[in-house]
């Protein structure tokens, strides 16, 4: 992935309808989002905002989240996704849809708590959670200590998360998509201070 992704990204927020029912509706919403993001510069973070969604069925979840994500991940570089505002009743349809298309996405609950959506192996999931909960980002060595693995293995895990667009990267500092969206990219001093 290009180094452009580590610099400031444009943010596109898609606030979803309250009733996301039927595949037909889902398709219309997905196409609308795709049109919206087509005109944005890259790197780009598209936030799928679920705060107003009171109901979503499996067919709609497949179109609006899984199929949208699959298209972005397969066809684009420098385009990240974040699913925000999740409530418990969103999870079953969204998780099911993501599993069917073999997609993993960074998410967060309505209260901001990070949540990795889709199926990921336990070690990768743990590594992601460490990054997601660290506002200032994480470097390989501190992650390695947290996970009980050597730094090269920690770096490999972080690079894999970055390749899958589950985290942002700035040199050897890896941070959550939310942190990148909120502009929490640390300045040069912080990056050089070895925090993580």
């Amino acid at each position: 992935m290009s180094d452009r992704a580590t610099r400031a990204a444009q943010v596109s927020r898609a606030s979803l309808y309250s009733h996301l029912l039927t595949r037909q509706t889902g398709r219309a919403v997905r196409l609308g989002i795709e049109r919206q993001v087509r005109v944005c510069t890259r790197p780009l973070v598209t936030i799928l905002d679920f705060r107003e969604v009171t109901i979503i069925d499996f067919s709609c979840a497949d179109e609006v989240v899984a199929r949208l994500a699959r298209g972005i991940l397969d066809d684009e570089e420098d385009h990240f996704l974040l699913v925000s505002g999740m409530e418990e009743y969103h999870l079953d349809p969204v998780q099911s849809a993501l599993r069917r298309r073999d997609v993993v996405l960074p998410g967060e609950r309505r209260n901001g708590a990070p949540l990795l959506l889709g199926e990921a192996d336990p070690v990768a999931r743990r590594a992601w959670e460490v990054v997601a909960r660290q506002a200032g980002g994480v470097r390989p060595e501190p992650l390695g200590r947290r996970l009980g693995v050597e730094p090269p293995e920690a770096l490999r895990l972080l690079e894999e998360l970055y390749r899958r667009r589950l985290v942002f990267r700035r040199s050897d500092l890896f941070l959550s998509i939310r942190a990148a969206v909120d502009g929490a990219l640390p300045g040069e001093e912080a990056a050089g201070g070895g925090r993580g």
Binding site: R23, I55, R67, P93, S96
Partner: protein, 337 residues
């Protein structure tokens, strides 16, 4: 000349099977369904358009000279949502097979007639049977969760879900003692079963739901949701993608297994086919029952409180798909539903 098909006194799942068998006999359908009738059942391509001349058309397998079918419902004493929309489905199939809109004798029982009126049987029957048009009625006095509703478009699905949400909340939480999230889960399930009609049947269908007290069968209240169509059925829908793999074993039974157990779909898209799986998972969590009948086969998730077989084949042939979901009331704090 009309052929009379008697509607069973108990118009439920078993009653529907007897109705189908009687209809098949009256319209000359073989036990294994002959090709000509299967074509007519599937798409009405043999020219059934309500009224018209005698019976036999180029498609063959139709009830050539026997004329109109009369469904005699005078002796009906009890009907479930499944039985009610089964009656409409049977009427539609009779219409396709004979080329003539069937007639219907209403129930003699005042109580049953009143229930049929409240469930909008007659509003929907005018589309199928030879009946005068009936004005739509207010549902303010209805105690039904969902009166019979045709599903013709995705807009119908939205409207159905919107319409039942308040009633579903009252019934699920207060009467059946389900937790609050179940209202959304039920609405999602309703959306998915109705979409099955639009996505797979290539034909119209109906949905209906009611709550009962199953005194003998379970000793508890239950919510019964029924969805039916008379389209191409699971075997027809999945054939183009899956039949070759099964070879001679391809049948309504294998198609139901593929869809219900393995999440297979008529579409190659990996995102398809999850609706039915999701419904099965949710019904299992509620310790409910789901049965799907299509063609000559049935498959079910059977809870511990019932003893029906989980699979059947060799049933009377009938087009489309017929789905029954039963959600029992929960008992005790944190106990199984």
């Amino acid at each position: 000349m009309s052929r009379v098909v008697e509607v069973p006194q108990q118009l439920d799942e078993e009653g529907f099977e007897r109705l189908i068998a009687a209809l098949n006999e009256a319209t000359g359908v073989q036990a294994n369904g002959d090709t000509g009738t299967a074509a007519a059942d599937r798409d009405g391509s043999s020219g059934a358009s309500g009224e018209g001349g005698g019976g036999a058309g180029a498609g063959g397998g139709r009830d050539g000279g026997a004329g109109r079918i009369l469904l005699d419902a005078r002796r009906v004493r009890w009907s479930s949502p499944y039985g009610l929309i089964g009656l409409l489905a049977a009427g539609e199939v009779a219409r396709r097979r004979t080329g003539l809109a069937p007639a219907i004798e209403p129930p003699e029982s005042a109580e049953v007639r009143s229930y049929w009126r409240r469930m909008d049987v007659w509003q929907n029957a005018t589309e199928v049977f030879r009946l005068p048009a009936i004005a739509s009625r207010s549902h303010r006095d209805s105690d039904a969760l969902l009166e019979i509703t045709p599903i013709l478009s995705h807009r119908d699905v939205h409207q159905v879900v919107d319409r039942v949400r308040e009633r579903a909340a009252a019934i699920l939480e207060r009467r059946l003692r389900y937790p609050k999230p179940s209202v959304i889960q039920f609405s999602v399930m309703l959306s998915e079963v109705c979409q099955n009609i639009l996505e797979h049947a290539d034909a119209a269908g109906w949905v209906c739901a009611q709550t009962y007290h199953w005194k003998k069968r379970l000793g508890r209240d239950v919510l019964v949701l029924a969805v039916m169509d008379v389209g191409q059925g699971f075997a027809g829908s999945l054939a183009s993608e899956h039949a070759r793999r099964f070879g001679d074993r391809w049948s309504a039974s294998t198609a139901l297994e593929a869809a219900f157990l393995n999440g297979e779909s008529r579409f190659r898209d990996p995102g398809r086919g999850q609706g039915l799986q999701a419904i099965r998972r949710q019904v299992t969590r509620w310790n409910g029952e789901i049965r799907i009948r299509s063609g000559d086969a049935m498959i079910a998730r059977v809870p511990d409180w019932d003893d029906i077989p989980d699979r059947e084949s060799g049933l009377p042939e009938f087009p489309g798909a017929q789905i029954l979901i039963v959600m029992p009331a929960r008992v005790g704090e944190g106990a199984e539903a």
